[in-house]
């Protein structure tokens, strides 16, 4: 009924109003504004007077590309969110600006995502997703050197991880707001997006392959102020921060409340009779229960991936020095 | 709007090479006097659009391009761009603002005019093209013909001395085309029109320049050039109906 075409949004990641507390929404706005400020500044410097028409048209492109579906299995479709593709094709800060535009229009025109919580949606889909994607992409490209597989593995990994990390961030924001139980929301959202991320990865790679064949020159990022290592570190650091928040939100509700008290959040509720973090026992998260295992698994995989990538990175960097004259295809 | 006494457009030995190495223009020379209405015809790939883009400095080639007596280069560019109204082939490229008003106001706004003057010019320009009713409309709701007229208005509002149009009648149905041709006839500016519409050329543009392979192969009175069947055929052009005797006219169902 609803899914058959009323909703243009591809993924269940656009948080509507009412699902986040005002405090969390404001925090996300502040973070989003900071990221957006940097993006406006940097993309302005890189693109110059072309910034406005180029970013605008490409945001429209992302919007249209999100509407390309293909059948995965039965009734489900795979389609594109676009954060990773934008980051790889446009560079990280231009991607932030473009995706912010997309998220804004989705909220303003389709009510896909709320207005008060738009800061959180921007943070997840327009800042975290592209930056993580770019970090992973540059990391893998640095590893691969000039070899062709770098583009495809990097594109896929970037797209997949950006979707999953954005989903994790979303569930954390919901948990902090007391709207969802983290032990259920995180595995559910992450689980769903582990699958959606595959579709995202495949389409991203397909698009990159096309662009590489037609206009290879467009794939060299025009702004290289920070080298590949630096970018991978930034992207992965973001992923790490997001994942580290997860156990914080779930295992120590008291600790979180204490933190909230210290930072004055509880006062923000203005004598409301409800609590920001409810004092409930977490039935799913007792030792050895399925939800706890899933949660541990997801977080574990992410951390291992990050560490593994980092190590492989360092090795590749060390190994690459005598091989700078490697012949390219 | 004052008529300049100098030559409006003066191009001397202009050459331009595309990024991929192809020669787009080769030694093109052209002079257009104030008030002239000139057609630029030739097969696709002849370099017509490329030539037009040199007139306001979007492209810079080798050779001299002077507009209204000034070289098309800094520091004259801003003034030249206000004087040369370039109407692009695809109106969707030219109507980029949220509303028609903002599109037509764009030129005057960036010329630094007062708000009052901007509003006056928008009203005037839209009236010239018969589109006053569209002022608060959003561009994507308009038909191709309407968009083409408003694209012209967006350029007229700068009160240019020269109008340069790239394929103004392309894609229009006969009625809309007739309307657009009528509009072009009413505009007093010096005109340079790149077009495939050979019948329009015969009707309203007294002088024709034939461009082929990046070179000017003919330049003269429309009647002379267009009735020269051999010349037209040599450059992939058709002789307009009005020059063909009845018996030879191709009969369509």
């Amino acid at each position: 009924m609803l899914a058959s075409g009323v909703l243009p949004s591809p993924a269940p990641m656009h948080i509507p109003d009412g699902f986040l507390t005002v405090a969390i929404a404001v925090i996300c706005w502040v973070l989003a504004a900071a990221g957006l400020g940097v993006a406006l500044w940097r993309s302005g410097k890189t693109l110059g007077p072309r910034q406005v028409p180029l970013m605008g048209v490409l945001a429209a492109f992302i919007f249209a590309a999100q509407m390309l579906n293909f059948t995965v299995a039965g009734g489900t479709s795979g389609h594109l969110i676009g954060g990773a593709l934008a980051a790889i094709l446009l560079g990280p800060w231009a991607a932030v600006l473009t995706m912010t535009t997309v998220v804004s229009i989705q909220a303003l025109v389709f009510q896909d995502g709320g207005l008060l919580v738009m800061g959180a949606n921007i943070l997840n889909m327009a800042i975290i997703a592209p930056l993580v994607a770019y970090g992973v992409y540059r990391g893998v490209m640095a590893l691969a050197g000039q070899r062709r597989w770098g583009l495809f593995v990097g594109g896929f990994a970037a797209a997949w991880l950006s979707v999953v990390v954005a989903a994790v961030a979303t569930s954390i924001q919901l948990a902090f707001s007391g709207t969802s139980l983290l032990g259920v929301a995180l595995p559910a959202m992450a689980g769903v997006h582990v699958l959606i991320g595959i579709g995202e990865g495949l389409i991203t790679v397909g698009a990159l392959a096309f662009v590489a064949a037609a206009r290879r020159d467009l794939l060299q990022p025009s702004d290289k102020p920070v080298r590949g290592l630096g970018w991978a570190a930034i992207g992965l650091a973001i992923a790490l921060v997001v994942t580290l928040f997860a156990p914080l939100a779930s295992e120590h509700p008291d600790g979180l409340e204490r933190v909230a008290e210290n930072l004055g959040f509880i006062d923000l509720a203005q004598d409301a009779p409800y609590e920001i973090i409810p004092d409930y026992a977490l039935p799913g998260l007792s030792e050895g229960s399925p939800a706890a295992t899933i949660l541990a698994g997801v977080v574990g995989v992410l951390i291992v991936a990050i560490i593994g990538l980092g190590i492989a990175f360092a090795i590749a960097r060390l190994r690459r020095r005598p091989m700078t004259r490697e012949v390219t295809e | 709007m004052t008529m300049s006494m100098e030559t409006c457009i003066e191009i001397n030995d202009l050459s331009y090479v595309y990024h991929d190495g192809r020669q787009a223009l080769q030694g093109v020379s052209l002079r257009v006097n104030p008030g002239e209405k000139v057609a630029l015809v030739g097969p696709n790939g002849a370099g017509k659009s490329t030539l037009l883009l040199h007139l306001n400095g979007i492209l810079r080639g080798d050779g001299a391009v002077r507009v209204l007596g000034q070289e098309v280069a800094e520091p004259h560019l801003a003034r030249i761009r206000a004087q040369v109204g370039l109407v692009f082939q695809d109106p969707d490229d030219q109507l980029f603002s949220p509303t028609v008003f903002e599109d037509v106001a764009f030129g005057p706004l960036y010329a630094g005019l007062s708000e009052e003057e901007i509003r006056r010019r928008v009203g005037w320009a839209l009236a010239q093209v018969g589109a006053e009713a569209y002022v608060e409309r959003v561009s994507h709701h308009l038909s191709l013909g309407e968009k083409k007229r408003i694209a012209i208005a967006s350029v007229l509002s700068m009160e240019p001395e020269i109008l340069v149009l790239d394929e103004p009648t392309a894609g229009l149905d006969p009625r809309t085309r007739r309307r657009l041709i009528g509009l072009l006839q009413t505009l007093p500016q010096t005109m340079l029109v790149a077009t495939h519409d050979i019948n329009m050329v015969a009707e309203i543009l007294p002088r024709t320049v034939i461009l082929d392979g990046g070179q000017v192969v003919a330049d003269g009175a429309t009647d002379d050039l267009l009735s020269d069947a051999a010349l037209m055929a040599a450059h992939g052009l058709e002789v307009p109906h009005c020059y063909t005797p009845h018996a030879e006219q191709h009969h369509r169902q």
Partner: protein, 285 residues
């Protein structure tokens, strides 16, 4: 009949749905766009601040919402239909029913133990749904009663970054243009791959012999995205040329917003007052 590629129905059949604006000669439509934007966000913040279980406050907010809908002459059915968008996300909040401390109302036996819906949990859940539903309705009214160009001008006027607003304006303008290109691409692909078909729900689709792996389909879709990307870059270059031809120098310039009318300001203050009173009431009772 399987369709392996399809374009969201909304795009092919409902291009105009991308324009949420519905013109009516109403008070709300005539209000200054800045006032509408601020009041809409204010309403949403207000619902978010309303405590769980403050049913009277929710009822009053709903009443306020209904009167706004009436003033905008939009029709309750219209607004309700559009507001269903937020509904699926309600699933995310379901867990709250089970985990809030309180008197158990209903207990189910699940692996791992008992799960109970508590009264406090139910209150919280229903409150979240109400907040969300009311907020969406207000957003629907805002966009239906305010043309997008007016919204853009309001955002600029309220000091959102000029460049961002300009980019959003361009994106909005060119979504239609690019959507048309996608439709053309889909038709071309469908025509090449065999049968061109229009399925019951109106989706245009092309069939391939059953088979064609998921990977192949993803690659083809990706290829279309890539081609669309290159065409978009080229178009943005042409647009930039057109801007430069009319004097663009890289700075975003706009005309001044007309001054705020006293009447609009008074309405804004009145509305804000009502919201404040509802919040006060919610905490007193």
């Amino acid at each position: 009949m399987r369709d392996y590629f399809h374009v969201s129905r909304i795009m092919l059949m409902h291009i105009h749905a991308l324009d949420a604006y519905r013109f009516k000669a109403s008070l709300v439509h005539r209000l200054d766009a800045r006032v509408k934007l601020v009041l809409a966000v204010g309403f949403i913040v207000s619902t978010a601040l309303t405590p769980d279980g403050a049913w009277l406050a929710y009822a009053l907010l709903a009443g306020l919402m209904l009167s706004v809908i009436a003033a905008a002459r939009l029709g309750v059915g219209f607004v309700l239909r559009r507001s269903l968008v937020a509904l699926p996300f309600a699933l995310a909040a379901v867990t709250v029913m089970f985990t809030t401390d309180g008197e158990a109302l209903l207990t189910v036996h699940v692996f791992g133990g008992d799960l109970s819906i508590t009264d406090a949990g139910l209150t919280r859940f229903v409150s979240v749904l109400l907040k969300s539903w009311l907020s969406v309705q207000m957003a629907v009214v805002l966009t239906a009663a305010t043309s997008f160009p007016d919204l853009l001008r309001a955002m600029r006027s309220l000091h959102l970054p000029k460049v961002l607003v300009a980019v959003i304006g361009f994106a909005y303008r060119y979504i239609f243009v690019i959507a048309d290109e996608v439709a053309r691409m889909m038709r071309a692909r469908a025509a090449r791959s065999g049968t061109l078909s229009l399925s019951e729900d109106g989706a245009l689709s092309g069939n391939r012999r059953s088979g064609g792996s998921v990977f192949w389909r993803a690659r083809v879709t990706g290829g279309m995205a890539g081609s669309l990307f290159l065409r978009s870059i080229e178009r943005s270059e042409r647009i930039y040329d057109a801007m430069v031809a009319r004097g663009y120098d890289g700075e975003v310039r706009v005309l001044r917003h007309p001054t705020l009318q006293l009447g609009d300001l008074l309405i804004a203050l009145l509305f804000a007052l009502v919201l404040a009173l509802i919040q006060l009431l919610a905490r007193l009772i």
